[in-house]
């Protein structure tokens, strides 16, 4: 697909907008795509990125530079071509009307849950954390789309001082755990400590997990995660898992 736009929004993060062909399937929140340059074999494999924002003509990805592949993607300019495969994987399931959806986003994990706020306007409680204020992205864009927005920073430079899980622990003290459903995406560390709490309070929750991928289609078994019922493929049975499986 052709690159329409590529904008740095911080030193480290950029938004890549790609053209969508007319009949292209549209993603659901939580689904992802594999992206790779259109030529050469280095890098070889596609890299998975969540569908961030889209309309009929284009789709955007919010990408953080972490290695070679993402660094290369950051150099693409309008007119360049990128091969995309998707939408792939399972999306976040809709919440029951009786429950308040609570979104927990850690760092670049925001890319995966952001689109929930597009589908269900102003319904979500959105808890978003990062290392410091400068890494909290697009907060003014998110604010009008959600019911409540809580920001957390490790260094206290904005919002609550502490991480998303610490904030959520506080938050739970004032909330009935059966009245909410949690959608979460963040770094592995966050997911781990979050899971403990979610399980303890028996909260209905859906977590988006990460694993290195090759095919994205369930064929290579490369993206396996150990679950209660055996090895599951993040690209097929995930990336969004019901916490009951984990």
């Amino acid at each position: 697909m052709e690159v329409i736009d590529n904008r740095e929004i911080t030193d480290n993060v950029f938004i890549l907008r790609l053209e969508l062909t007319e009949n292209a399937l549209k993603p659901e929140p939580g689904q992802f795509y594999l992206l790779r340059p259109d030529s050469g074999y280095d890098p070889l494999l596609g890299r998975p990125f969540s569908a961030f924002r889209w309309n009929n003509d284009w789709i955007e990805f919010l990408i953080r530079k972490t290695g070679r592949g993402t660094a290369l993607l950051s150099t693409f300019r309008p007119g360049d071509h990128i091969r995309i495969l998707g939408p792939l994987g399972r999306s976040f399931p809709p919440h029951s009307p009786h429950k308040t959806p609570v979104v927990l986003a850690g760092g670049i994990g925001m890319a995966s849950v952001y689109s929930l706020t597009l589908k269900h306007k102003a319904e979500h409680i959105f808890i978003y954390g990062a290392k410091s204020a400068t890494e909290l992205l697009l907060t003014e864009d998110i604010r009008p789309r959600v019911r409540e927005l809580y920001l957390c920073t490790d260094d206290g430079s904005m919002g609550f001082q502490g991480n998303v899980v610490e904030f959520f622990t506080e938050f739970l003290k004032k909330t009935s755990s059966h009245s909410i459903v949690v959608y979460a995406c963040g770094p592995e560390k966050m997911t781990k400590s979050l899971m403990e709490i979610l399980k303890k309070y028996n909260i209905e929750s859906y977590l988006s997990l990460e694993e290195r991928m090759a095919c994205g289609l369930g064929a290579c078994m490369g993206c396996a995660k150990d679950t209660k019922t055996g090895m599951k493929r993040v690209c097929m049975e995930g990336p969004v898992f019901n916490i009951e499986e984990l």
């Binding site: 790779r36 074999y41 280095d42 890098p43 070889l44 494999l45 596609g46 091969r83 495969l85 694993e211 290195r212 991928m213 090759a214 095919c215 994205g216 289609l217 369930g218 064929a219 290579c220 078994m221 490369g222 993206c223 396996a224 995660k225 150990d226 055996g230 090895m231």
Partner: protein, 301 residues
């Protein structure tokens, strides 16, 4: 224009199949590839019982290649026969089933359960022999000979292929053993044992430490091994290792392959198998070749 090739008793409508482990059980790619158009579908290695495989991380990208240590996760023989095979039977293509065992008995049990039900059985011999302290079958010529002799005797109907490992001491010698024992064809090359380290955490990139290297990086090694083997044996070779394009496939055919298998390339472009078949036809057209068989081993040197 004839693209048909023969591997043992199996006739393929064209020389292109998939490399075991990279195409699931066929259905995973059916959205992208009309399976009817492939010469054959080779499925993920099957064991008697289902296997969970290695803990993650299982894959890592390296320059023009990738490491995998899936650990042969698969659905097991029963599920394969009940669910995967009937699905594949619905297509007009050949079915090659890659098998793996811990003992010679396991290989024989698998072979006899599949014999006649599938077009070909491909033995992955890069597996540890648990009765011999875990030495890989492919690392010991005597063990290899015993294994493939037993399987050869067991299988009556299906074509028998032995998949050779580039890590064995002498791959050409192993191909000769296959021919002597009456194996129908060899396939090569399996992945090359390799590893990578995260220098910051000082840990291996794969939980299994060592994985198999595949992809374009290994192609020149595969082509050399196929060429050397082709000069030593008369049974057909199914070649694989870094084939990304029709040009790469033709390179292997000129080196001596009768058919080619596409592996890692499926991950890079899901429709690649069909592109390669079309590209081979184009090559034949341009060069005025009527029969692909006339190109096998056609390297001029």
């Amino acid at each position: 224009m004839n693209l048909e090739v023969k591997i043992g008793k199996m006739t393929m409508k064209n020389p292109v199949t998939t490399a075991s482990g990279t195409f699931g059980y066929g259905s995973e790619y059916a959205e992208f590839v009309d399976l009817n158009l492939l010469g054959a579908v080779t499925v993920k290695g099957i064991s008697l019982e289902p296997r969970e495989g290695n803990p993650p991380p299982r894959i890592y990208e390296t320059p023009c290649g990738m490491l995998n240590s899936i650990g042969l996760q698969n659905v097991g023989l029963k599920n394969f026969l009940d669910e995967k095979l009937p699905y594949l039977k619905g297509f007009d293509t050949r079915i090659i089933v890659n098998i793996l065992g811990n003992t010679i008995d396991e290989y024989c049990e698998l072979s006899s359960a599949l014999d006649g039900k599938v077009d070909a059985i491909e033995l992955n011999v890069s597996c540890p022999n648990v009765k011999k302290g875990g030495v890989l079958f492919s690392n010991n010529n005597d063990m290899l000979r015993t294994l493939i002799k037993e399987v050869r005797t067991t299988v009556k109907t299906s074509t028998v292929i032995v998949k050779l490992s580039p890590a064995s001491a002498d791959i050409v010698m192993q191909a000769r053993i296959c021919e002597e024992v009456g194996i129908d064809a060899v396939s090569m090359i399996n992945t090359i044992p390799a590893m990578a380290i995260d220098i910051h955490s000082r840990r291996p990139r794969l939980s299994n430490i060592i994985g198999g290297l595949s992809g374009p990086a290994i192609r020149p090694i595969g082509v050399r091994m196929v060429w050397e083997t082709h000069r030593a044996i008369n049974i057909p070779i199914i070649a694989m290792g870094g084939i990304m394009t029709a040009e790469d496939a033709m390179e292997y055919i000129l080196a001596g392959a009768t058919a080619v298998a596409i592996g890692t390339a499926n991950f890079v472009k899901p429709t690649v198998t069909l592109d390669i078949i079309e590209g081979m036809k184009k090559y034949m057209l341009i060069h005025g070749i009527d029969d692909i068989n006339s190109l096998i081993g056609g390297l001029i040197c």
